[in-house]
Amino acid sequence: MKKFMFVNRKAPYGTIYALESLEVVLITATFDQDVSLAFIDDGVYELAKTQDTKGIGIKNHSKTYRALDGYDVEKLYVERESLEARGLTEADLLVDVEVLSTAQMADLMAEQDVVLSF
């Protein structure tokens, strides 16, 4: 089993990155790998509560984050600096996450076998 980290640094609907990351996460989890998700920079917006995409005609994929534990994907990490820079707190997020300092996130990244950026 390898340690995979998916690094999410983009807001959810302006580009396709956030959705593509989720798709690859689900595929990787299917292969019984050790999967972590990191949310950094605008990537923290992916986890904001109360997303409602009816008005823009794009599927609201934020609900998928709440289904991840069903695929044994339970390691979600958010960088505190990114969260605070956007005026958000853990209470604004739609899933349970572990909030990490920049140094803790750097350590976690360094111990992965594979890091994929989105």
């Binding site: 920049t102 996130m105 750097a106 350590d107 950026s117």
Partner: protein, 99 residues
């Protein structure tokens, strides 16, 4: 860990975030528009001094030359060709391309 950045530091936050999260002793390769960060005119705004203090910094020479920056690189940066790019990838057990 080899970090790879290919976007201008003036256009995206990829390089800034990479530098924030890279650990001392790791390597950084600048390619495409990211090479401007290693030039005398761009290094300060890119925070490259901090990068050089903790990371081994490489630039992809064909991208530097294509942009007319060959004579403008700051000291301490190592230029590599495509073969050097391949060597860097094989020498590091992991790499991360910052998008």
């Amino acid at each position: 860990m080899l970090h790879i950045v290919n976007k201008s530091h003036r256009q995206t936050t990829a390089l800034a975030s990479c530098l924030r999260l890279a650990k001392p002793g790791q390597a950084l390769l600048l390619t495409e528009d990211a090479v401007y960060a290693a030039t005398k005119g761009g290094a300060e705004s890119a925070g490259l001094a901090g990068a050089l203090a903790k990371l081994k910094v490489y630039v992809l020479q064909p991208d530097v030359e294509a942009r007319g920056m060959a004579g403008k690189l700051v000291d301490g940066v190592t230029a590599v060709g495509y073969d050097g790019f391949v060597d860097l990838v094989t020498e590091h057990s992991t790499n991360q391309s910052w998008l």
